[in-house]
């Protein structure tokens, strides 16, 4: 019965369209516009738009490079180690460092990325203050007490070191920020001398050292991802502020890895996760805030 009824309806509609072509075109147009309007104002499309507005250049999925990157110019034991003052190491600098360490021991990945033009290599000479303490024969002071006079010798040794930097704010990497404290001068990696005063060869003294006010150290390598679809939307209320929120699961399509990630040395040192495969996707829960009908990106649980 139903197919017959539908066929009848279709025939009658066609007949109507034949007799009034202009009106039919108008009705179809209005129906199309209504459909587009309904589609554009649907929640998932609006959420997708808010997501794209928040990441105009595309969201990122990042792999940890923590095992490769870092600064390995540390002070060992009692000796002070410092670098010459350059644009990278001055207290007014904010270097973006991939790796820094002794020149004899450089990670393969840093060498490879420098060859591909992602990193820049800087060669510097570190100075190491080697302190040796010599205890002399027993002696007496003016009061008659026994003591051992000791003499402190400083030997300044030079050691070659290498720094690999990225471009400032390079979006292909994520960074961890290290910054210097106010009262206590913590280290952000590179130390230089505060004063240029000459250092005597004997005597017990401390050499004031200072590091750049901030150092950004690469912590991950990133792939661009593009939002494709929304699988679930859940309305929530913020328990603290009472804001209306939407928690949406967004599926992103992952770009194929760029050539510098698609290398044996990268796979060997940073790993080769499944998202490198062709057509892979990642899913993220993203929170949107409903601000009187205006949807705004709030946070996503990634990186």
């Amino acid at each position: 019965m139903t197919p017959l009824f539908l066929r009848d309806l279709l025939q009658r509609g066609l007949a109507l369209a034949k007799s009034h072509p202009g009106r039919t075109a108008g009705a179809v147009g209005i129906a199309l516009l209504a459909g587009i309007w309904l589609h554009e104002t649907s929640l998932s499309v609006r959420l997708m738009r808010a997501e794209k507005t928040h990441y105009p250049a595309g969201a990122r999925a990042c792999l940890s490079l923590d095992t490769v990157t870092g600064i390995n110019l540390g002070n060992s034991g009692s000796s002070a180690v410092w670098a010459p003052r350059t644009d990278l190491t001055a207290p007014t600098a904010h270097p973006f460092v991939f790796y820094a360490g002794p020149a004899q021991n450089v990670p393969d990945l840093a060498v490879d990325l420098a060859r591909r033009g992602l990193l820049r290599r800087h060669d510097i000479t570190m100075t190491i203050d080697v302190v040796s303490d010599e205890i002399g024969p027993q002696a007496r002071n003016e009061g008659g007490a026994y003591y051992h006079p000791d003499t402190v010798h400083h030997t300044f040794r030079q050691a070659p070191a290498v720094i690999y930097t990225t471009e400032r704010n390079d979006p292909r990497f994520t960074y961890t920020l290290r910054f210097r404290g106010g009262v206590l001068l913590g280290s952000t990696g590179f130390m230089t001398r505060v004063y240029d005063t000459p250092l005597p060869e004997t005597g017990r003294y401390t050499i004031p050292l200072i590091s750049p006010y901030m150092t950004s150290i690469v912590s991950g390598a990133c792939l661009t991802v593009h939002p494709r679809s929304i699988t679930s939307i859940e309305a929530r209320t913020d328990p603290l502020t009472g804001d209306h929120l939407y928690a949406a699961n967004i599926v992103f399509a992952v770009d194929s890895p760029p050539s510098w990630m698609d290398t044996p040395v990268f796979r060997r040192s940073a790993g080769s996760p499944p998202i490198f495969g062709q057509g892979s996707t990642v899913e993220r829960t993203t929170l949107f805030k409903d601000d009187h009908g205006h949807l705004a990106f709030k946070t996503d649980f990634s990186q």
Binding site: L177, V183, L184, L185, M214
Partner: protein, 332 residues
């Protein structure tokens, strides 16, 4: 000559406008557009960073501490061993010590007082460095100790009720005697301009979390015209050094982002430099005596500022997250 040229040019321009007003308008619009496009970009964030720099430049430099408040002054404590406390306890009511006034040390002496000791006392390494730099002077004085005590006769006088032996013995005529002893001493004083870095700052003694405050020596009083002892009012015992800094320039700033209704936030790294950098601050004997960091020739501070509509103010917390990947670095 130049006024004539200017007048001629003005006449020519007016002529051109009168002849073809539309073309003149077009040329003006094109020039304006070109200026808009080619003028150096002075975007909103950069302007906010510049306003923040102006705010920091307007901070007071005579009070507060840059580590805590909106202030351009920085203070560091000096450790206890920097002072010389070799003159014993002063201020006992029965043993009054005072220095005889000399041209170098009288009621008008102004400056910073670092203690003193018997003539020829050795200064601490910190003071020796300041003396080598000519900031602190060794001031020789004669200290008079006036002791007010019972006479020997008064101590012997025991008025017992012994009527068999006769009447009471007569009391001694002088119950008390004042004796005066003199001692040659040296005081360590930073007079005049050199004392600007060393001021009494009770703030440095506050909030030390159980650390004993520096035991500063008491100032030797001077005998004034009436023979009484008075501490020179212009002399202070420093708790540490305090020095003003100037805001040199902005090194880095983040985007000025909106964090609420009409509320903006920006994080700025500003290079602060001491107003003066005397040679003695880089002496190891001096920075070895300072608690905390030495005096830095280039002190970079990162602060978060908020603007609620009435100018940029220091936010309580510093949010550096954006500096890691979105900072605008100007550098040198």
């Amino acid at each position: 000559m130049i006024p004539t040229m200017a007048r001629n040019a003005a006449v020519a321009v007016a002529d051109a406008i009168r002849r073809s007003p539309r073309r003149a308008a077009l040329v003006a619009a094109a020039a304006f557009g070109a200026w808009q496009v080619l003028a150096p970009g002075d975007n909103d964030d950069r302007r906010a960073a510049r306003e923040v720099l102006a705010t920091v430049r307007a901070w007071p430099e005579g009070q507060g501490s840059m580590d805590r408040d909106a202030s351009r002054r920085l203070c560091r404590r000096v450790n206890d061993e920097s002072f010389i406390d070799g003159l014993g306890f002063l201020g006992n009511v029965d043993r009054r010590k005072m220095a005889l006034p000399t041209p170098d040390y009288d009621a008008n002496t102004a400056g910073a007082y670092f203690g003193g000791g018997p003539r020829g006392v050795a200064p601490s390494p910190f003071l020796q460095a300041l003396m080598d730099a000519g900031v602190v002077r060794r001031v020789p004085v004669t200290i008079v100790t006036r002791t007010h005590q019972p006479t020997a006769a008064a101590l012997d006088y025991v008025p017992l009720q012994d009527t068999i032996g006769g009447p009471l013995p007569p009391p001694p005529t002088r119950q008390f005697e004042d004796t005066e002893s003199r001692m040659d001493a040296d005081l360590f004083i930073a007079p005049g301009d050199g004392a600007a870095w060393f001021i009494a700052n009770p703030d440095l003694r506050k909030g030390l979390m159980g650390i004993a405050p520096a035991s500063t020596p008491r100032i030797v009083p001077v005998r004034d015209g009436t023979g009484n002892a008075a501490v020179p009012p212009g002399l202070v015992t420093p708790d540490g050094i305090c020095y003003p800094l100037r805001a040199d320039r902005v090194l880095e700033y983040t985007d000025a982002k909106t964090v609420g209704y009409k509320l903006r936030e920006i994080t700025v790294a500003i290079l602060m430099k001491p107003r003066t950098m005397p040679g003695w601050v880089s002496d190891p004997r001096v920075f070895g005596a300072l608690m905390g960091a030495p005096v830095l020739p280039e002190d970079v501070r990162v602060w978060t500022f908020r603007n609620a509509g009435d100018g940029w103010r220091l936010s309580g917390l510093t949010d550096m997250r954006d500096m890691a990947s979105n900072g605008h670095y100007l550098g040198d």
